[in-house]
């Protein structure tokens, strides 16, 4: 059965953008470790993490394909909503200036300084460098794995578009990292997180509703409608939050 593009397109976009954000964050750590303690162990840790993540997607993706879909949709929708609404809340608060933005340059400097304090690396495999890049790759990649699996669990046939989206972002960030050898600080991470949060919330709401047995008005076309609704409400919340935060800061200053 062909996959409707109204599901395949947004699922590929969501996993691409989520993977882009997480890969940029992991790249910062890999670069910091590589420049301070050597590239061999840094890249070995990163590659081991990526292999483990790939294995998780393959094994869990196959397992999810065998589970009856309708019984699973409500749980997948609920998990996607918990995950996506957390991302969207944070993106709104960061856009409003309530929470600090992610600063890749600052993180790079902090990581480099911390690694230098551990002394120089010896010959052979540097366990510290391996462990730091392995852990960073796993932590950042776990979110991407969750998104890919959750999106593909919501509807049959979405594992490939979601995986391809994530893989494309990984290749893009790895190529850019290899070319510039600097953290990709200009990537608008919060805007990307905003968009991913909106898409995940739209998917989560749609599948939770379907799992409850409700028929969405417009059927599959309600996914873009839900995304537009989440985007509009979140975008309108940003200036509102900014006003409230500055009023609160004024009260505290008095």
């Amino acid at each position: 059965m062909p996959i409707p593009w109204v599901h395949a397109g947004p699922s590929m976009l969501a996993s691409f953008l989520a993977s882009l954000v997480e890969c940029v964050e992991a790249l910062t750590v890999v670069l910091a470790v590589g420049t301070t303690r050597g590239w061999r162990s840094s890249l070995a840790g990163c590659a081991s993490g990526l292999l483990l993540l790939l294995l998780m997607v393959l094994l869990l993706g196959q397992a999810l394909a065998r589970i009856p879909l309708h019984r699973f949709q409500l749980v997948v929708g609920a998990l996607l909503l918990l995950f996506g609404m957390r991302w969207l809340r944070k993106a709104v608060l960061r856009a409003a200036g309530v929470l600090a933005l992610h600063d890749e340059d600052a993180i790079y400097r902090r990581e480099t300084q911390a690694l230098r304090e551990h002394g120089g690396a010896g010959s052979g495999l540097d366990k510290l460098a391996f462990a730091v890049t392995f852990k960073s790759t796993m932590l950042e990649g776990l979110e991407v794995v969750f998104i890919v699996l959750a999106i593909s669990a919501g509807r049959a046939g979405l594992l490939w578009p979601a995986s391809l989206g994530a893989l494309a972002a990984l290749l893009l960030v790895a190529s850019l990292g290899a070319m510039v050898h600097r953290p990709l600080a200009r990537v608008p991470e919060n805007t990307l997180k905003f968009v991913v949060g909106v898409l995940l919330c739209a998917f989560g709401t749609f599948w939770a509703g379907e799992g409850m047995g409700y028929a969405w008005p417009g059927a599959d076309w309600s996914v873009p409608g839900l995304a537009a609704g989440f985007l509009a409400v979140s975008a309108l919340s940003v200036p509102w939050c900014r006003r409230l935060a500055s009023a609160r800061a004024g009260e505290l200053a008095r």
């Binding site: 609920a78 609404m85 957390r86 309530v98 979110e143 609704g229 609160r248």
Partner: protein
């Protein structure tokens, strides 16, 4: 076993950052699933009310955090 504890904490953190926010989402999903059909509004309206409730939870949570 510290690695297992770390892994579980990380896994929990993927879904829950603000406990009250996460709880509100779960409670609303349960209400929308179990209580909305009792109102007999129709399947389409139930779906719309489900989405509206989630949007309201998001707005309440960000405004509450901004006021703090």
């Amino acid at each position: 076993m510290s690695w297992l504890r770390t892994a579980l904490v990380e896994l929990w953190g993927l879904f829950v950052e603000d406990g009250r926010y996460a709880l509100a989402i779960v409670v609303w999903l349960l209400l929308a699933w179990l209580a909305l059909p009792l109102l007999d509004l129709g399947s389409g309206w139930n779906a719309v009310i489900l989405a509206a409730g989630l949007l309201a939870i998001l707005v309440e949570s960000v405004l509450r955090r901004a006021r703090r």
